[in-house]
Amino acid sequence: MSNVITVVGLGKKLGKKQVLKDITFDVKKSERLMVFGPSGCGKSTLLRCLNRMIEVDSGTIEVEGKDILQMDPTQLRRKVGMVFQRPAIFDGTVSENISVGLKLHGMDEKKKVHRALNEVGLPMNFLRKQAKDLSGGEMQRVAIARALVMEPSILLLDEPTSALDERAAKKVERTLQHLAKSHGMTMIWVTHNKRQARTQGDRVLIMGKGVIKNIGAPAVVMNGRKRGEA
């Protein structure tokens, strides 16, 4: 299967701290890659490099075979959607929140908004609700719908459930599982939750102090075995 993301020798400094060092990995189409590691190990920084929310200092990133530095950053971000840890909710209804991205690009297609809401498992009567009145889990699902409505081919998820209680987190997990199964959506999902890393992805990339410690199938790498070991 072809790579949709190829990262080679990535390095990034924030201030004087070397946050990422020589990061190399790839992601296949429709794959769910879990990026697992302790707080401050560079997981979120890595994610932000992939859609050029921040610039890398060294190394290259290719999305669908193209160097991201050669791409228009706004087009790149439409292709590589992102969901943050704490969803930013705008004033207005759920419908208005989901269509924020569409309006930016001169589109306001109700059908797409309805479809996105349906994909994240929220009922249609939510469209007219004030987004600020929703629960944390519902807000996060609205944020996922807002990213989905742009029809990205890759979804970056920055600890999307870490601010939620367990019940809400499970619902968001089910939503993401549904997207992966029904649409074959490629996902890179940052988490520091061991259970999630073990159960939600096809592969796990374990990070520590800015470097890749291990990468491979969850059953292999989450049991402490190194890359290449049987």
Binding site: N51, R52, M53, I54, E55, P73, T74, Q75, R77, R78, G81, M82, F84, R86, P87, A88, F90, V100, G101, L104, H105, A143, R146, A147, M150
Partner: protein
């Protein structure tokens, strides 16, 4: 050059000003009564403002003399002096606004450039169509245009950067959805500029009903026809809004160049 600085009338004026200053008694009594922590600042501002005004009058007398002089040397010095006055006003305005918008990177040059363009464009047009090219008009109008534009720019930038910090997550979300930095901050820019323009807009609303502004009061006291005074006052409002909105728009556009990278990434 005969400079009639101190006449009997001016001396009496200072005596009367001393009597006016007795209003300081209720002002400072009430400042202490209301536990306001501005007494020291008020005293310094009053002294500083008065000294600045007095120095300005010396400069004005000299410039007026130069403008009327037949001496060829003075005729050369006159435009140079006007240019120096303009530069001093712009730099002072830029510095004052910079102190209020310190969070903006490179605020001083940014504000100074925007004030220069905004006021030169506006004053250029007004002096072409309405005001005579006399120092009696050039200096006060320039001061008024720069002073008001300075306040508007400082308020705009201050409000804009405060909102940028406050709503960083929303801006990032917009950028992540493919927005340009302009698109991601359009709403914040509008709110910041509306807020900055509101004080002038409010005074415009009550113009002539509750509020008779300084320029008109001055002209009326100098014995000008009320209708002519009103025309000048309306002109002054156009000047304030034009210089203010042009300067603020340029300041905001320049600020965004420092607050975002060309790849539409946050840079603060």
């Amino acid at each position: 050059m005969d400079v009639p600085f101190v006449t009997r009338e001016i001396l009496w004026g200072f005596v009367r000003l001393g009597l006016v200053a007795l209003l300081g008694i209720p002002i400072f009594t009430l400042i202490f009564y209301n536990h306001l922590k501005i007494a020291k600042e008020m005293v310094i501002a009053l002294i500083r403002g008065s000294v600045q005004l007095m120095l300005m009058t010396v400069a004005l007398v000299l410039i007026f003399e130069m403008a009327d002089s037949a001496d060829p040397m003075m005729r050369v010095l006159y435009p140079v002096t006007l240019a120096v006055v303009f530069v001093v006003m712009i730099l002072t305005g830029g510095y004052t606004a910079f102190k209020r918008a310190k969070d903006v990177p490179h605020a001083f040059p940014l504000i100074t450039i925007s004030l220069t363009i905004g006021t030169l464009f506006t004053l250029g047009w007004l002096f072409l169509v309405i005001f005579p090219w006399k120092p009696q008009y050039i200096i006060p109008m320039t001061g008024m245009a720069i002073g008001n534009a300075m306040n508007m720019v400082a308020l705009t930038l201050d409000r804009f950067t405060a909102q940028m910090k406050d709503q960083k997550d929303k801006i990032e979300t917009m950028l992540a959805l493919g927005a340009t930095s302009n698109q991601a901050t359009r709403k914040l820019s509008s709110i910041a500029m509306e807020t900055a323009m509101m004080p002038s807009l409010n005074s415009l609303k009550t113009l002539g009903v509750v509020f008779i502004p300084g320029a008109m009061v001055g002209l009326l006291m100098a014995g000008e026809e009320p209708l002519i005074a009103a025309q000048y006052q309306i002109t002054v409002y156009f000047m304030i809004f034009s210089a203010g909105i042009i300067s603020s728009t340029i300041a905001m556009a320049l600020a965004k160049r420092w607050l975002f990278t060309p790849a539409h990434q946050l840079n603060f």
